[in-house]
Amino acid sequence: MEALVARGLSKTYRGRDRPVAALDGVDLVVERGRLFGLLGRNGAGKTTFIKIAATLLLPTAGTVHLFGHDVVRAPERVRPDVALVPQEGRPFYHMTPREHIYEYLRVRGASSETATARTEELLDAMGLRAVEREPSYRLSGGFQQRTLVAMILATEAPFLFLDEPTLGMDPFARRQVWEVIRAAARKGSTVLLTTHYLDEAEQLSEELAVIEGGRVLYRGTADSLRSTIRREVRLQFSGGFTTAELEPFGKVLVDRQRLVLLTARASVRELTELALQRGSEVTVGPVTLEEAFLELVGRGIEEDL
């Protein structure tokens, strides 16, 4: 069952000198109950996509249906089913985390009992208990972001849009939020998430799409993204090789004065034997999602040039 279906979605903004295409014929399907990651560089079109799907912005062309309802023509049918963590949002200045969660639920029509129960649950799950009665202006940026995310996740809306939800959070807080996002998906919410933390995308996304220049470059799982780039193995050499020697085998990166080669499985035996002959220390592992992403988007950019 499909929760979100986008067809030929385009958005062109009026630029200062010329029109700027933020989305250019995007086709995307998100299945119900899925945790879906939307990846892309800054300005790739991720937030524009979320804004259109969440009924905040009108597209220039194309359609988006959410649970069968057209987000352009019937936004009032879509809105009860969605909740959104906006990019770089901030909570109300004077309100406490407890008030944010409880009051927002009440504004959305939740009963007092439901709102109270979810508030208690989210305050604990998001690590906000210690600051639950502090006005948000006294909170650090990380706690403010947690407050905003808690407020939205507490809605248990059927479709959750999370635009960079862990921005500015420490690694512990991020992991707490991941757990709450997973719990929301377990309860049946469909989650569309954007993030620049590729480890987060890998941890959370059952499926992901990569957007570049307003177009979908890739859609699938993180594992299949690694296969797509046909360089699924990562070799790190402590020395003994030059960049020119490794380039025929794949993509060479320099990581803290060490050479890293992204290559196909077939080349691993030859290269490790060569490394042993030269006395070079070699570490073998899978390509990280970040490396696969850089490779994929890098190719996309080259093709555009």
């Binding site: 912005l57 009108l58 809105r79 901030r90 909570p91």
Partner: protein, 253 residues
């Protein structure tokens, strides 16, 4: 959400943006008091005693009109700086409920100043019950007019810094330039009609009548008609409310 739920959402939004900030930062009230009471103070010092009641009426209207500027700044701040309007757009809360909730929160800010001004007016003038009710009606319409205008403008810009001067310009044009702190017949007769380009002038005329003050004779004579003033105020309010309903960008184009 049912209409009852929407009504609750209105009250909760008022609580978010009006009651909680006032409770935690009571000094915010001082900002609302400062300008109209300064004007009143100057009038008391430099003008004849007969001008003082007009100044009090003007203070009431100034306070209500500037709640529109507060609406403009708050809505723009929540939309552009905190991205919180988006959180309400992507929810079952209707735009109408959001606007009304925010407008009520602005009324909460102005309420202490309004009560004080009304108290002063009641102390210096024998206002009838009918006059008092008419005055409240004028305050209500002026509040609706100013806050819907404030919301409309808040949705039109992408940068907060662009909005600040626009708000000051528009609400000064409504609350300082027109004759609201003094009777309209003080304006030179050949340009009195210009004052009636601002709907706040009609509000001032009606409020002065409600308080039992003379509005004097105006040129042309129909400008002094209460019916004309009522049409002007109601028309202005309906016009701004319709403009907000159809032109405000709840969803970005």
């Amino acid at each position: 959400m049912t209409w009852v739920d929407q009504g609750r959402a209105v009250l909760r939004l008022c609580y978010f943006n009006g009651i909680i900030p006032l409770w935690r930062s009571p000094l915010l009230i001082a900002a609302v008091f400062l300008t109209p009471f300064s004007f009143l103070f100057f009038l008391k010092v430099v003008a004849p005693a007969a001008a003082f009641p007009y100044g009090v009426v003007g203070g009431i209207l100034f306070t209500v009109l500037f709640s529109g500027n507060g609406m403009l700044n708050d809505c723009a701040y929540l939309r552009l700086e905190r991205q919180l309007q988006q959180v309400f757009v992507a929810s079952p809360v209707r735009s109408f409920s959001y606007v009304l909730g925010m407008a009520l929160s602005e009324l909460a800010f102005t309420l202490p100043a309004l009560v004080l001004f009304l108290g002063i007016l009641a102390a210096i003038l024998p206002i009838s019950v009918g006059g008092f009710l008419l005055l409240l009606g004028v305050v209500l319409l002026t509040w609706l007019m100013a806050t819907t205008l404030g919301f409309l403008i808040s949705t039109m810009f992408r940068q907060l810094r662009e909005i600040w001067p626009i708000g000051t310009l528009i609400f000064s044009g409504l609350a300082i330039l027109p004759p609201i702190f003094y009777p309209a017949n003080v304006v030179p007769s050949d340009v009195q009609w210009v004052a009636f380009l601002a709907p706040s002038t009609y509000a001032a005329q009606l409020a002065e009548r409600a308080a039992g003050l003379s509005t004097g004779s105006l040129a042309p004579a129909f400008l002094g008609s209460p019916v004309f003033d009522l049409i002007g105020l109601v028309g202005g309010t309906v016009l701004f409310a319709l403009a907000a309903a159809y032109l405000a960008r709840w969803r970005e184009p």
